[in-house]
């Protein structure tokens, strides 16, 4: 039998997650549809006045994307926990922190990336110009991995707990606020003619911080949940 290196193990996990997701397409598409629905609610709530919608667009689209990304977090560990695979991962000789990081990466690929691609379409509905659409995509691209990483902490903490879905949102949303502020802020700043270098660097910094610390917190939380 061949031996697998660390990279090989993570690739195996990625392959597994992606093939499961492709066979359960509904679960991948639902958050995307949710994104579209929620973003469409805002004009219905505040009226179709184009100047107002244009002003609101970055914030509304960011919040909707944030909520949609959060929707699929519950399933991050829940199915594996239910069939015993999570235990096997915890008992694996591969560090749990790396496995958890791989899981967050697949969450980004399957939830975050589709949102990034969908956002410009919705942006058009709000009257955003192509330059703003580009910046929106860029900030979402930089921000959604961080959302997946922070979200995995919440998913691990609420594993198997009563009312896990809503509790997860309550725990995670305050932690999402900095990403929201800099992400939406960048689009607005650019529209106002200001530079966005600062925003992008801060988003990147948040990403780097979460890459280092989130897997540690998530794996601790997972072991606590498995006790």
């Amino acid at each position: 039998m061949k031996k697998l290196g660390l990279f090989g193990v993570m690739a195996a996990l990625l392959r597994r997650e992606v093939s499961v997701a492709l066979r359960q397409k509904g679960e991948v598409l639902t958050p995307l549809v949710f994104f579209v629905v929620v973003a469409s609610l805002f004009p219905l709530g505040v009226g179709p006045e184009s100047a107002l919608l244009l002003r609101m667009a970055p914030g509304v689209l960011w919040v909707s994307a944030l909520l949609a990304a959060m929707l699929s977090l519950q399933r991050l560990f829940a199915t594996d926990h239910a069939d015993g695979s999570l235990e096997q991962m915890a008992l694996s000789s591969t560090p749990l922190g790396l496995l958890v990081a791989a899981k967050a990466l697949t969450h980004f690929l399957l939830s975050g990336l589709p949102l990034v691609l969908m956002a410009p379409v919705l942006g058009l509905q709000f009257g955003l110009e192509s330059r703003s659409l580009g910046i929106l995509m860029l900030t979402l691209l930089l921000g959604t991995p961080t959302l997946s990483l922070i979200g995995s902490i919440g998913a691990a903490l609420t594993l198997g707990v009563r009312g896990a879905g809503v509790l997860l949102s309550l725990l995670i949303l305050p932690l999402y606020i900095p990403v929201l502020i800099f992400g939406a802020g960048a689009v607005e700043a650019d529209a106002a003619g200001l530079g966005i270098g600062g925003h992008l660097s801060l988003l990147a910094a948040l990403f780097v911080l979460s890459v280092f610390f989130a897997p540690l917190a998530t794996k601790t939380a997972l072991r606590i949940s498995l006790e």
Partner: protein, 245 residues
């Protein structure tokens, strides 16, 4: 000379701490009352009327101390929780659980007083000021902690899970506060603060003493609450049955 070492570790057992806390809390309660009385006297009577905001600004003497202390309490709570997670001590987790409601109440008080300030100033009950918004988010962090604790049945698992949450929250607090302050200055929102060339020394004294008063209050309430938590968690132990008689 008789040298007696205080064996602090003795008090890390819930049973011993129960009795120690029982003897300590009345002192802190007295301190809290005295400090609060002095601070309120300074704030309401001694400090001069603000040139721009009139008498209404006096609520700052409660608003600012409540806001700062609620953040301080969160950090202390996270500290206790982290200690309990690292060293697997029962009492640390209980202290963190005891601190949470007090911290949440202080955060809420900060919001309420900020709101009361805003009404005569701007005619609205809420203003997206940096401090108020940060206090609001802090309140959410407290509520999340309390909610997570109450939804996990096993107390040990609840303590450990909420410890992770508290630590993650503590690390995030500077980031959240920083980003909110930045957001606020960018959008030039209203500011819930005393403007003016200088803040009169009396005002600083008033706020400082009130902060100390809130601090003593927090300690008092935490000690009282932790005793109740100890009794609840250790209810099967022999000493509890005797203590409750």
């Amino acid at each position: 000379m008789n040298t007696q070492k205080i064996h602090w570790f003795k008090f890390s057992s819930p049973q011993n701490f129960y009795f120690l806390a029982g003897r300590m809390w009345p002192w802190f309660a007295v301190l809290a009352t005295v400090l609060a009385a002095v601070a309120l006297w300074i704030g309401l009577v001694m400090a001069p009327v603000d040139a721009q905001q009139g008498q209404g600004y006096r609520i700052i003497f409660v608003h600012v101390p409540a806001a700062s202390l609620s953040m301080f309490v969160y950090l202390v709570m996270a500290g206790w929780a982290g200690f309990g997670l690292a060293f697997n001590t029962r009492l640390s987790g209980m202290m963190a659980s005891a601190l949470a409601p007090t911290g949440a109440i202080l955060a809420f008080l900060s919001l309420a007083t900020g709101s009361l300030w805003g009404k005569p100033m701007w005619g609205t009950w809420w203003v997206w000021d940096a401090r108020l918004t940060s206090s609001l988010i802090l309140l959410f962090l407290y509520l999340g902690f309390i909610a997570l604790q109450s939804s996990i049945d096993d107390p040990r698992r609840a303590d450990k899970a909420s410890a992770v949450l508290a630590l993650v929250g503590a690390v995030n607090i500077p980031i959240i506060y920083g980003s909110v302050y930045w957001w606020n200055t960018l959008h030039q929102g209203a500011s819930v603060t005393v403007k003016g060339a200088s803040i009169a020394p009396a005002m600083l004294w008033g706020m400082g003493l009130m902060t100390a008063a809130f601090w003593m209050y927090a300690i008092t309430m935490t000690l009282v609450r932790v005793r109740a938590i100890i009794l609840d968690r250790e209810r099967h132990a022999e000493w509890v049955k005797h203590a409750v008689e």
